[in-house]
Symmetry: C2
Subunit: 470 residues, 2 copies
């Protein structure tokens, strides 16, 4: 079928106003938000219903047209950017943004793939429930993308990854078949857990159109502490103490180096360290509970006292108001922005067995400094989950495109060192286009074979998001 015929069929199937083909109309859909990837497409479709998605996929399979599902385009690995094939079709879910239901007895939220995560958080909060998935892009990322990439974020230490929040999925398979899997059951031991295959599959198996999510009890009682630590090893000891003492109240356990704080101070107005002196590293801990502010305060006080007595931190600052909590979080959250302002850099989203982090930080730094002695590491992340954003900026004075020219060997060192410790080369960002070669290099051949054969089961024609992940 030629392209003109195919486009006409799309128009007939889902309506003229859902199919875009002019260069101006489709240009914004051909690149990722950071501008690292650029691809081609013959058209962009923005269907409004699951049935329309089904018709689009059936046509695509029939015509062997590659499909690139697209959410809020906030990914960091190019997973939602088309490759170089001129016949790609970008399938945006942005118009499927209805909340189909919120249930405060079952504690479930059923929403379509195009819903903005932040809107879903607020919808849950309005009925006094918590949707705990929370990440920097939450006001522009979409649920479908969150699930297709198994998003993580700052609350994983307590609530788990996106996949752990999903009770059921509605999805369309490449042939156009609709999978009506929107169950809200807590327990369902009837066969293989198919939804867990689609979650984290980065659009390579089918298109998620809606999901049933778990909600939690709200935790309005909050306390945040930033502790200054001498080393990652001290941060680890602090983590161990807090885990045992605070249990489920520990909602976040973040780590960042002194260099990150310097960078924020230099590049982001009005954000600075809460300490007078400079420290090698910091942890930010949020405790949260459904009730009992006095109890939470007493617990935190007792734990911090213990930590200082046992020499697990040098100093600590505790929040005492919502404004302070927000200011403390801002210090952590602005690291990415500060690094962006500083210039082009390399991002590595890796995870490690948590107890290996201190050794990894020493040995990884030795490796990268052998390649580039003056590289500037800015290391931060979700320490409680073993997840580091091991980012590298160019040496002071080097040209802005230094990492584009010299970054590859540094990435190779970092990821190889991660593999030495049994870590993961992608903790929460996924593989996309960015890490595809490393994925093929470090994944066990048996797992690669099983994944390829499972891909074949779902997508025998191979139309789903080619050039990503597998």
């Amino acid at each position: 079928m030629n392209s003109v015929n195919f486009i006409q069929r799309l128009r007939d199937a889902i309506g003229d106003d859902s199919v875009f083909t002019t260069p101006d109309d489709i240009a914004p859909w051909l690149t990722d938000w950071r501008g690292l990837y650029r691809g081609h497409a013959q058209a962009v479709v923005r269907p409004r219903t699951t049935e329309a998605v089904s018709r689009v996929l059936a046509l695509c399979q029939d015509a062997r047209v590659p499909v690139v599902p697209r959410g809020g385009n906030t990914g960091l690995c190019g997973g939602a950017t088309p490759d170089g094939a001129s016949n790609n079709l970008v399938l945006s879910l942005d118009r499927m943004n209805a909340i189909r239901g919120i249930d405060t007895i079952a504690n479930t939220l059923v929403a379509e793939a195009g819903c903005i995560l932040g809107d879903l958080q607020r919808a849950a909060a309005e009925v006094n429930r918590l949707l705990p998935l929370s990440l920097a892009a939450e006001d522009s990322c979409q649920l479908g993308g969150n699930l297709a990439t198994n998003a993580g974020g700052v609350n994983v230490v307590r609530y788990g990854m996106a996949r752990e929040l999903v009770l059921g999925l509605e999805a369309v398979l490449p042939g156009g078949e609709i999978w009506h899997g929107l169950r809200t059951l807590r327990k369902d031991n009837t066969g293989y857990d198919l939804k867990q295959l689609l979650i984290g599959s980065e659009g390579t198996l089918g298109v998620i159109t809606a999901a049933a999510l778990r909600l939690y009890a709200p935790t309005p009682v909050r306390q945040v502490v930033i502790a200054a630590v001498a080393s990652p090893r001290q941060a680890l000891a602090l983590y161990e103490l807090l885990f045992a003492e605070c249990g489920p109240r520990m909602q976040a356990f973040e780590f960042f180096t002194g260099e990150c704080v310097d960078l924020v101070a230099a590049n982001v107005e009005g954000v600075r360290s809460p300490f007078a002196g400079r420290h090698p590293a910091y942890v930010l801990v949020e405790l949260a509970d459904t009730a009992d502010e006095a109890g939470l305060n007493a617990l935190l006080e007792r734990v911090i006292e213990q930590a200082i007595e046992r020499d697990l931190c040098a100093d600590a600052v505790v929040s005492s108001s919502l404004a302070q909590i927000e200011a403390m979080w801002k210090l952590r959250e602005e690291i990415s922005e500060a690094q962006r302002a500083d210039g082009l850099h390399l991002k590595h989203d890796v995870s490690l067995p948590i107890e290996a982090i201190p050794d990894f930080m020493v040995s990884a730094e030795a490796r990268i400094r052998r390649v580039c002695p003056d590289v500037r590491p800015f290391i931060f992340g979700h320490f409680g989950d073993g997840n580091l954003h091991y980012n590298l900026s160019r040496p002071a004075g080097a040209p802005n495109d230094f990492m584009a020219q010299h970054g590859e060997p540094l990435t190779a060192e970092v990821l190889d060192e991660v593999a030495q410790y049994g870590g993961s080369i992608s903790a929460e960002h996924g593989i996309g286009q960015l890490k595809r070669d490393y994925f093929a290099k470090y994944k066990a051949p048996l797992e690669l074979r099983l994944m390829r054969e499972i891909k074949q089961v779902f997508d025998p024609a191979g139309i789903m998001n080619p050039g990503k992940l597998l």
Copy 2:
């Protein structure tokens, strides 16, 4: 290959003392613990290492010998009992019972499939950590079976099903390939989550030989309350209140009818209701926390007060000692034993959207009474997860084998009514042999097709646990 040659190859591969073939030796492995199923096998193997399991499976695939993996044999659906084929091989994991490691920083436990669940709980407790998987058979069931069936139990409302506790798996695929997937990472977004396919697959895809499990902070501060309620609807309202107020402290929310309590009182010595009068139904709630006994007591007091004020329960008894907590749990836990003592009966392990439970209980009872007016329902279960054990005993005075003769139409009514409400015909027990026909009837054709094709990927020769699940 004839059987004699095959057995000799097994002996050569894993040693004479791991291969059993005499009728006396293999008889105990041919039936389930309730004696509902009985099958055949040419041999039983009890390998000691993952490599030995690998050699066994390679030989089986080569000779097209069906393999029936076997754990503690505590299943309720015949999933670990061989079918009628004379050439079956029962593969028991019981000798693979080493704990490979416990880590109190990473909070992980790595254990082999043959470990008894209770032993793992105690090993975790010894290092001041909690392995939250807890169920009636915990002192005889084995980890491998728990994972192969995605076991549930009493703490699911807080910690989730078995699959949510698994960080990594080691497994052997039918060809003998060993999958070294024993990762302990909290975050790993590198491709499809293969471990979630094996978990809950009831031995149809491969053999789990070891697992890395998450541990939690211990919750030594406990309170249990039994509340008397007028109806399932009142239980639901009580659940809603407790969910919002107690958040993660709610560790169990169990339900049982007045008939269950009568049955326990009649059949189990020394266990009785904590209330003077008789009530239509009861809920048992356990709250637990890492610390702050006074806080937990105050919370429970406040919530119970609210519940009584808002007429969400008729009466409530709160535990004040470990002995009382144990006695209160005994009332709930002895229901199965009491029903067994009362005679042969039908078990239905179903789940429902939790808010549908009250309506379901009315409509399901109407349906079963149309079939058998004097049937005696004993309904209990993990209400907070929407999970009911909807068990039916014979009419008073009917012969003990009444349900063997007349049970099928009752089961058909119960499961069909569950399906009407969008529930699951198996909440936590699995499918095995028992529910295979109903599984095929109620599962969506698309899901059945995907499962069969995934089975084909893992087990192209079809040797894994034939006659179970799919």
